[in-house]
């Protein structure tokens, strides 16, 4: 820097020089510049003639006077000051953002930096907050005092960055590296939590600065394995192409009377109201009598997923101004995007944010208690839920929420931390809410009990929007993708069949099942079990559905070779057993699980105990179809493994089914022991029924089972025996504790997940899908 010396004005005084006499220059002693650094001397450069040629030089020291050889000619003074002696007393870290011209700007996430007009040496480092998985630009400066100058003025020395370290829960910097950090302060957090960004050591002193960045993240259990993996690139991260897909909580989980049986049980109703409206209200809108949004029962919790707000620590909160906002939205506040979904958030009961609400009855009860776990709010298109309030401060600290889908859509759930209009940080998760009927396949061979089942199953479409094709999976991602097919039982209307299937789907999902799921519907009757005609008509419809089921299994094996798993409940075991028999030696199911099977155990093993009643018909299940022959399902090979889930106290297959067998032959049928003939009496003319062509009719209406129902019988041999072991699960014993009441015949679909998850866990283990 130079100063004109030919003009005796303010220029020279700025560097403590003066011209006390014409042709002389003086420099004051002990004069200092703006930074308190002493002026030591000045070199005066001048032209040696009036034409400006030269230059010539002369030197003036502080406290001395020199005579200028060419007074009046052009001259300039170049002062020399003492070298500053700097010492770092602190570091200043701040986020910064560029504008279109790559210049740092203040606002929109950028803070004032040293050198900017908005910056003041009194500024303290702002709280640094970064979203996991996005680049965050940090500037670091060493704040230095001038030891030999004005110590009220500071120097700021830009820093290069070195490494990023994790900070433990006690606030101590660990030796563990985290994230990706460039020397220029570009930081890419890969996990939530406080991170120490260390600067490169000072060349002279080795001194380093450390800035703390709070990495925040919205975390979900995307692969629903019970563990929320916070690692970057782990299985629980979402992306536009891989959103967290979850179902809408639009069903009606409520306490019920179990029809005429008067056993209180939680179930999925066809429709139900809530106390506030007394109008049909799905669970996602359920309110108590005071209008408070509450969770209707613990069963409804299987429609909730977890959300962790990670990285919002006490220190982060303390670092924010009182008017700071922390909110959840779809990023469309003020400009609603109707394609975004709507979700409802509640405080999580699990202190650790775990899955106790799905597995532990005590935790589940707390979760549905609004005084323990309050409603946080609803996030729909254009809406936001403010979390930085006194009410939810503990929620922010724990970071544990549960949520359910209220309306369908796909969006980016965004956590925004802002100060006024300045967005400090954001983090997000991609979420897609769908109707559950768009998440599993619904195959049917017909649902009208008065119409014969079709031989080819087709996709059902009840509940789908008009014009929307029924849901069908795309090509499986791998040949090893498993497919579980559920066959329902007796006395279910179409909606009930779907709800049972959906309960199975949800509970398998929460056991971490990663494969695909479908149900097979067949035309069971929808009358009460005390109507024997309906019960036996249901049976023949189930037998007759075996062909359609087999064809479906064969088709599924084209897509999921050797990975189709079959499970059937109650009367559905008739169709399933028959399909596997018709398969011959072609294995169409990897594993077949019978659940509370309403089918004579003698069909598989004629040596199981006989029912203690007198029989009017021969045991054609155990000896098909002449005395001494093998049982009906002898040598079946349609499945690799057969597993029998049974309950000896099951009311339906243990009492009612038995009584129905006693009453066979049914109205309009008879058996003549004299010539071992079966008859359909008919209205005018009787016609003889013969094996094998009339087998289904004879079994359903005429022939009494001699053995106990498979679903109540232990130690059934045949395909259920492997080596010396019987492949069976006894459901009346712990941990299942299925009882003797009617509700327990379908217990796996009823009640709540905390009471039933052990069942579904066992299902997956027995299928070889959960080692």
């Amino acid at each position: 820097m130079y100063f004109p010396a030919y003009y005796n004005g303010d220029y020279l005084s700025a560097i403590a020089m003066s011209t006390p006499l014409s042709g002389t220059y003086s420099m004051a002693a002990n004069a200092t510049n703006l930074f308190g650094l002493q002026y030591l001397s000045a070199v005066i450069a001048y032209s040696t003639n009036l034409s400006g040629q030269g230059p010539g030089f002369t030197n003036v020291n502080a406290g001395s006077t020199v005579t200028f050889p060419q007074p009046g000619w052009w001259s300039y003074a170049f002062p020399s000051v003492a070298q500053p002696e700097l010492a770092t007393i602190n570091y200043y870290f701040a986020p910064f953002k560029y504008d279109a011209y790559y210049l740092p700007v203040v606002g929109v996430g950028g803070s004032p930096l040293p050198g900017m007009p908005e910056f003041s040496p009194t500024n303290r480092s702002p709280t640094l907050i970064a979203g996991v998985g996005s680049t965050y630009q940090v500037a670091g400066h060493a704040k230095q005092i001038i030891l030999n100058g004005d110590q009220k003025k500071f120097g700021y020395l830009g820093q290069y960055f070195d490494k990023a370290f994790q900070i433990d829960t006690n606030g101590n910097i660990t030796g563990n590296h985290t994230g990706i950090l460039s020397p220029f302060g570009e930081f890419f957090p890969t996990e939530p939590g406080p991170v120490a960004l260390a600067t490169m050591p000072d060349l002279d002193t080795g001194q380093c600065g450390t800035g703390v960045v709070y990495a925040i993240k919205l975390a979900l259990d995307v692969n629903h394995d019970g563990v929320i993996d916070l690692s970057f690139g782990g299985p629980d991260n979402t992306s536009p192409g891989r959103p967290f897909v979850f179902w809408c909580n639009n069903n009606y989980d409520r306490w019920d009377n179990d029809s005429i049986f008067h056993n209180q049980e939680q179930d999925d109703q066809i429709v139900a109201s809530c106390p506030f409206t007394n109008q049909p209200t799905p669970d996602c809108n359920y309110r108590d009598q005071f209008g408070q949004r509450v969770i209707p029962c613990t069963r409804d919790l299987e429609d909730f997923a977890r959300l962790w707000v990670c990285g919002v620590t006490d220190n982060l909160l303390l670092g924010l101004d009182s008017d700071a906002s922390i909110n959840l939205s779809w990023g469309d506040v003020g400009n609603p995007n109707p394609s975004n979904p709507t979700i409802d958030l509640f405080v999580a009961a699990d202190a650790d944010g775990g899955i106790g609400y799905l597995t532990n009855s005590t935790v589940a009860a707390q979760q549905t208690n609004q005084w323990v776990c309050s409603y946080v709010g609803r996030v729909g298109p254009g809406q936001k839920v403010e979390l930085n309030t006194v009410q939810f401060l503990d929620v922010l600290r724990s970071g544990h929420l549960i949520w359910c889908g209220v309306s369908n859509g796909t969006g980016v759930l965004t956590l925004t931390i802002s100060q006024g209009t300045n967005t400090l940080a954001q983090t997000s998760a991609h979420i897609q809410i769908q109707d559950i009927k768009r998440l599993y396949e619904r195959w049917t061979v017909g649902d009208d009990p008065d119409t014969a089942p079709k031989n080819l199953a087709y996709l059902a479409r009840e509940g789908d929007a008009p014009g929307v094709p029924p849901f069908q999976y795309s090509v499986p991602p791998a040949v090893s993708t498993p497919y579980i097919l559920l066959v329902h039982g007796f006395n279910l209307e179409v909606w009930d069949k779907d709800r049972f299937a959906e309960a199975a789907f949800k509970r398998l999902y929460w056991q971490g099942y990663q494969g695909r799921f479908g149900q097979f519907r067949w035309p069971t009757t929808q009358q009460h079990i005390y109507n024997p005609g309906a019960f036996d008509k249901s049976e023949i419809n189930s037998w007759s559905s075996g062909v359609g089921l087999l064809n479906l299994l064969v088709n599924l094996n084209k897509w999921y070779p050797t990975n189709v798993y079959l499970m059937a409940h109650s009367h559905g075991t008739v169709a399933a057993g028959e399909a596997l028999r018709l398969a011959g030696t072609n294995q169409v199911a990897n594993t077949y699980i019978t659940m509370q099977a309403a089918l004579d155990s003698h069909t598989y093993d004629s040596t199981t105990p006989m029912m203690p009643i007198s029989f009017d018909t021969p045991d054609r299940y155990g000896a098909y179809y002449i005395n001494g022959a093998a049982c009906y399902f002898n040598g079946v090979g349609g499945a690799g493994n057969y597993i029998n889930f049974f309950n000896p106290y099951d009311m339906v297959v243990g009492a009612i089914w038995q009584s129905d067998q006693v009453l066979k032959p049914d109205v309009g049928y008879s058996y003549h022991s004299s010539d071992d003939s079966w008859w359909d009496v008919g209205l005018i003319l009787a016609s003889q029924l013969r094996f094998p062509q009339n087998t289904y009719t004879i079994f359903s209406y005429c022939d009494q089972a001699h053995g106990f129902a498979l679903g109540s019988q232990n130690n059934v041999g045949g395909p259920f025996r492997s080596g010396v072991m019987y492949n069976q699960i006894e459901l009346d014993l712990p941990p299942y504790n299925f009882g003797a009441q009617h509700i327990y015949h379908s217990a796996e679909f009823r009640s709540d997940n905390p009471h039933r998850w052990q069942f579904w866990n066992q299902v997956l283990f027995q299928m070889g899908l959960k080692p």
Binding site: I260, F261, N263, S480, H528, I529, Y530, N531, P532, G533, T562, T585, Q587, N590, I613, S614, F615, D616, G637, G640, N641, P648, Y649, M651, A655, I656, S659, D660, V662, L663, D666, V667, G668, S670, H672, S673, D675, W679, V681, I684, L685, A686, S722, G723, V724, M725, N727, D732, L733, P734, P735, N737, G739, A740, Q741, H742, F765, G768, L769, P771
Partner: protein, 341 residues
């Protein structure tokens, strides 16, 4: 002379009559006894032998309308179910962890009872709820009711809790005064620090031994371990062909004692009866899964320095990707106490 028309008409009538009598013959049983019943007899037909079964198409010898027949079926079903009711005779006894009688235990019981036809809809049971309090000898009984199943819904006594493996459902006649059904409750004050693990290990099934280290919760093909386990079963089999399947569990540093009573919670390890190994040999069809099932053992480590319980299941093949699987859960008391709770 008779007209041909009359002859033809007569013949047609004869054919119709013959058909009618043939029908009647085939509706009825070939038994010499008439196969008709009236409503007064319905309740007595339950255990009738062949030939005495009610023909539900007929009432007083006349065909019934379908809806009447269905109603009768409902009534018959109710009567069938009603006959399942048998006198309830249940003798139980509640003891504590040291087999001392527990008095004043509050017990809630439910009996499944089938009501008389017409009381409830056919096929609908009713629950008879009873409360009992154990006497000074810990005993309680249920008599004087009828039904076909009894459920012990809960047992409550302050500072005690029922062992979680206790069955809750029983046949209508269970236990005797001499040999009552035992319910064991444990003092809630008895809580030991246990080392637990629940884990599965994937193994090969060519008979190679695996060593399980219970403390570390690890498995290795060599080195030290508390249990040595192998499964031998061909990893390539022909579907349907029978193959030898064998396995063995050896206690390397421990003895093992199998507990086959599933209702025993295994909260107290016995001092004696331990053996060095468990072995199972069987034959499995190719394509099926062979297993030991989940088996429960007490274990005694270091010649009695530590006790524990272990549930272990060996499976081969488990699935197409996993030729062999060891499913293991255990609880060890490192204090040396035999209490495993």
């Amino acid at each position: 002379m008779r007209s041909p028309v009359a002859i033809i008409c007569g013949f047609v009538l004869l054919v119709i009559a013959a058909a009618f009598f043939w029908q009647l013959n085939h509706r009825a049983s070939p038994s010499p006894e008439p196969n008709f019943v009236n409503t007064a007899n319905i309740s007595q037909t339950h255990s009738s032998g062949p030939g005495n079964k009610p023909d539900q198409t007929l009432l007083h010898g006349q065909p019934m309308k379908p809806e009447v027949a269905e109603a009768k079926r409902g009534e018959l079903l109710s009567r069938q179910l009603e006959q399942r009711n048998v006198p309830i005779d249940f003798c139980g006894r509640v003891i504590d962890q040291d087999t001392n009688a527990l008095a004043a235990v509050a017990i809630k019981i439910s009996i499944r009872h089938w009501p008389t036809a017409g009381v409830l809809a056919p096929g609908v049971s009713e629950e008879i709820h009873l409360d009992r309090l154990t006497d000074s000898d810990g005993r309680f009984e249920v008599h004087g009711e009828t039904g076909d199943a009894l459920s012990v819904l809960s047992l409550e006594k302050q500072a005690y809790e029922l062992t979680p493996t206790t069955p809750h459902h029983y046949p209508s006649s269970s236990g005797t005064v001499e040999n009552p059904v035992l319910f064991k409750m444990w003092s809630t004050n008895i809580q030991e620090h246990l080392v637990t693990l629940d884990k599965s290990f994937r193994i090969l099934t060519d008979g190679r031994p695996y060593f399980i280290n219970l403390v570390a919760g690890t498995i290795a093909e060599s080195g030290e371990g508390d249990l040595r386990v192998f499964i031998k079963y061909p990893m390539q089999v022909v579907r349907g062909a029978t193959n030898d399947w064998s396995c063995r569990i050896d206690g390397v540093t421990c003895g093992i004692l199998e507990q086959s009573d599933g209702s025993d919670p295994m909260y107290l390890a016995p001092t004696q009866g331990y053996v060095s190994s468990f072995e199972l040999k069987q034959q499995i069809k190719g394509g099926q899964r062979g297993s030991t099932g989940q088996r429960r053992f007490y274990i005694r480590l270091g010649n009695g320095q530590e006790y524990g319980r272990i549930e272990i299941g060996l499976y081969a093949p488990y699935n197409y990707q996993i030729p062999g699987l060891i499913r293991l859960s255990y609880a060890i008391n490192p204090s040396g106490s035999r209490i495993l709770r």
